[in-house]
């Protein structure tokens, strides 16, 4: 899908190169196959002693060179447009970490693994990583850029196609590299404003089902298993209603308040044996979403 006018331009260029390659491949294969058939060996054959032809060498050097230069210039033009965001582009801060995307809007709203932008408004992403190199890739927009731990990098686009688009990590970053995807929603103005206010939570979905959905969409699944096996974070199985040992030596009961605090202010209490690496979801999850997650965790069985 072409998510922007730029994407459409890239596709025109892409198809030009495709047809060029088809032409040259057929030319090459054609000469080879023709030669094999027309000049198949027969006993007694004597072949001409052609050693070289400078005019031909010149021709088949210059013509490809000219074509290469045309493609080079075309590529530079497209690249320059993709590399330089317009001055009025809305800025979204992107933080990539193993293996989750965090987005922060100018008004302080935050989102995890899910991105909402307004149609026909250019948006630029100012990106950094908290650990290794990642890459923000939006195929429908035909743009990507690596995300580094020691500096900011940027991409931008002007979305013209309403609806859902996929984005993913395109720089290998370890075990969860292929799980590090998300959805970009291109909304009309009204829906976009509504999302900024409410976070898009469906008020009619039962809480535990909501929690199960958020488990995937907010990236909890990257670090918390449901089967009891520890990962980057402790498993959710059997957590609720049992004592938990913390890294500072205390033991606390995992009641609703513990779950709520652990979700929103993750660095307040760290379970023994784990590192303090969980993103802070305060301001990211709406109240109902937190309720949904707590409800879902309560449904997960004993250890």
């Amino acid at each position: 899908m072409q998510g922007s006018a730029y994407a459409a331009q890239v596709d025109v260029f892409y198809m030009f190169v495709v047809w060029l390659c088809v032409f040259f491949f057929l030319l090459i294969a054609g000469i080879a196959v023709y030669s094999v058939i027309r000049y198949r060996h027969k006993p007694g054959d004597v072949t001409p002693h052609w050693t070289h032809n400078n005019k031909l060498e010149f021709a088949w050097t210059i013509v490809p060179l000219i074509i290469m230069m045309v493609i080079f210039v075309w590529g530079v033009k497209g690249y320059t447009e993709a590399a330089v965001p317009p001055g009025d582009a809305q800025e979204i801060r992107v933080t990539a970490k193993q293996w989750v995307w965090e987005f922060e809007y100018p008004d302080g709203s935050r989102a995890i693994n899910e991105l909402h932008v307004q149609v026909n408004k250019p948006v630029k992403f100012v990106m950094s990583s908290e650990d290794v190199i990642h890459d923000f890739f939006v195929p429908d927009m035909r743009v990507k850029h690596d995300i580094l731990p020691d500096r900011y990098t940027e991409i931008w686009f002007n979305p013209t196609a309403l609806g859902k688009h996929h984005f993913e990590c395109a720089e290998y970053c370890g075990r969860g590299h292929s799980d590090m995807g998300g959805t970009l929603y291109v909304d009309d103005e009204a829906s976009y404003q509504k999302w900024l206010e409410t976070g898009g939570v469906d008020a009619s979905m039962p809480l535990d089902k909501l929690g199960a959905m958020l488990y995937e969409s907010k990236g909890c699944s990257s670090c918390h298993s449901l089967d009891g096996s520890p990962s980057q974070g402790p498993s959710w199985k059997g957590v609720f209603g049992h004592p938990v040992q913390l890294s500072d030596g205390r033991t606390v009961m995992a009641d609703e308040n513990y779950l709520r605090e652990s979700i929103l202010v993750s660095n307040a209490k760290i379970v023994k044996g784990f590192d303090s690496i969980m993103p802070v979801f305060q301001g990211v999850l709406r109240q109902r979403e937190v309720d949904g997650l707590v409800a879902y965790i309560k449904t997960l069985g004993k250890k």
Binding site: A29, G78, R142
Partner: protein, 549 residues
């Protein structure tokens, strides 16, 4: 001469037990301590084929795991995510460093190069043997890395992931560091050999084009590999001692690693392809029974690729965080480096045109090379174009591109060369019918495996992905089946090549009617190659010199 050209290719001569380099001296020690370039070539050949097998099995495992997003096939769950990441890393490392880079130079080149020059051996035979043992020392450390838990960084070892992951990176890096010296010394040996050990009468422009290709490759091996050495050393020391060069948290620069790494690894890909082109330049004229068209252009284009190849490394890093100026310069140079490769293709086609072509297995592989390398090279054009690369880099498009050039190119050429020189090396003919069938299986299987990957990449399927969106499943499944067809072709090849060794010597001294010096002596050759020092009295491709018709 007329009798050589018109004699059918399978002229059987009465098997004659002549003394040759295989039969004497005898004994295992005489092989392990040999300084005979031919025996060293065979030891390398067995070694690289073994690693090709290991790397190939890893490839089959990768494709089996990707058959379906559930990672199930035929009711079996294949690799889990962590193992998958290790397997694709080790597939890459083994294939690049332990198979492809040494394959044509060290296995075939060692055997054939001195003979083509009319020499008794390479310039430094003892260094040649040392190279072999250095290669195995490096390979041994790489195997230690594999058995101590493997490596999961990808063959490109990007920091900071490679300096922080808990897998056996240091062992692997040191293994490749050591194996790199094997490559350097082979290159050093070949340059000296080509400069000083050509037969009397053989000027630079009288030697076979294979030698030009090996010369260009050797220049790259000597000049580029030391940079890999220091890069791996720095990365390992960063891991162990945290010296602060690549680690951002210490003030280091992860993109600096990429510059260092690709400064070697781009020439490395030319180290891989130029020998393949060199073999094709040998096979095409012989099986077209026509002199090579554009000898000097082909020779110079090898050198051109070697030189310009040092200037394009940044095209692996268009989205890595370089300045816009750098990116534009690298794109420009990338388009320039495409031209010499294209020149070769035109000259090969002009050689075939109006030739007298027969399709024995070596020629089938040479023609496969032209077609598959054409696709690989043309798709490189997409990746050199900045705006297209921004979309396509780090997707399956790149995976398809480099497999077309490395496998469809180099491996196919290697197989072509192996079949071409098999009678010379072993004194036996392989089964021609099976050879043609296997070549067809490899060609068909290869396209089935990798062509869909261009399409997937264009649609946004990223590389090094264990999990993928369901929309890509049909193409992944098709690609997996393709890999089985390649496997069938390659195992068939292994089978009939080994089977040929059980026959008595049945190969004519010159089954293909070649004009280069290795064909003007017995198959298999004497230990000293030639009974008397040959003198070059005609060109390497003088099939019908002016005045003979």
């Amino acid at each position: 001469m007329a009798d050589v050209i018109s004699a059918p290719f399978h002229a059987g001569t009465t098997p004659v037990e002549r003394r040759n380099y295989l039969t004497e001296p005898k004994g295992l020690w005489s092989w392990l301590a040999t300084v005979d370039h031919k025996r060293i070539g065979i030891m390398y050949l067995i070694s690289v084929m073994a690693f090709f097998l290991v790397g190939g099995i890893f490839a089959l495992l990768i494709r089996l795991s990707l058959f379906d997003p559930s990672h199930m096939i035929f009711g079996h769950k294949m690799l889990d995510a962590e193992t998958y990441n290790k397997v694709f890393t080790m597939h890459g490392v083994i294939m690049v460093f332990l198979f492809i880079i040494p394959s044509i130079p060290a296995a075939l080149g060692n055997f054939v190069l001195p003979m083509m020059l009319g020499a008794k051996d390479v310039a430094f035979p003892r260094l040649n043997l040392a190279s072999f043992y250095i290669y195995w020392t490096g390979a041994a450390l790489a195997m230690v890395a594999i058995v101590t838990g493997g490596v999961d960084t990808g063959w490109t070892f990007y920091t900071p992931y490679s300096t922080s992951t808990q897998t056996s990176v240091a062992w692997m890096a040191m293994g490749i560091f050591i194996a790199g010296f094997s490559s350097i010394f082979t290159g050093l040996n070949f340059i000296a050999t080509i400069h000083k050990l050509r037969a009397p009468g053989m000027g630079w422009f009288d030697m076979p084009l294979f030698c030009w290709g090996m010369y260009a490759t050797a220049l790259m091996q000597v000049l580029a590999t030391p940079v890999l050495a220091i890069t791996l050393l720095l990365m390992t020391i960063e891991r162990l001692f945290r010296i602060g060069i690549f680690d951002a948290s210490l003030g280091g620069d992860p993109v600096l690693f990429q510059h260092f790494f690709w400064f070697y690894s781009h020439p490395a890909v030319y180290i891989m392809i130029v020998p393949g082109m060199a073999i094709v330049s040998e096979i095409i004229p012989v099986f077209s029974r026509k002199t090579i068209f554009g000898y000097r252009m082909i020779a110079f284009s090898s050198i051109g690729i070697a030189l310009i190849g040092f200037l394009v490394w940044g095209h692996h890093m268009f989205v890595a965080g370089q300045s816009q100026t750098a990116v534009v310069v690298f794109s420009f140079l990338t388009f320039i480096v495409a031209i010499p490769s294209a020149i070769k293709v035109w000259n090969w086609l002009a050689t075939m045109y109006h030739g007298s072509i027969s399709l024995e297995t070596p020629m089938l592989y040479a023609i496969s090379f032209i077609l598959l390398f054409a696709i690989g090279g043309l798709t490189g054009v997409f990746l050199g174009a900045l705006s297209l690369d921004v979309h396509l880099t780090d997707t399956y498009f790149v995976v398809a591109h480099f497999h077309y050039v490395m496998m469809g190119g180099t491996v196919v050429a290697f197989l072509g060369g192996l079949h071409y020189w098999w009678p010379k090396i072993t004194g036996r003919m392989y089964n021609e019918r099976l050879g043609q069938i296997a070549a067809a299986l490899v060609f068909i299987g290869f396209n089935a495996t990798f062509f869909p990957q261009f399409i997937m990449g264009g649609q946004g399927m990223p590389r090094r992905y264990y999990n993928y969106l369901p929309q890509f499943q049909p193409m992944h499944a098709f690609s997996t089946v393709g890999s089985w067809i390649i496997g069938a072709g390659l195992f068939l090849t292994l089978g009939y090549l080994l089977a040929s060794l059980r026959k008595p010597y049945d190969a004519p001294d010159n089954p293909w009617g070649g004009k280069t010096m290795e064909w003007q002596t017995q198959s298999p050759p004497l230990t000293e190659n030639f009974e008397v020092q040959p003198v070059a009295t005609h060109g390497p491709y003088d099939f019908f010199p002016v005045g003979t018709h």
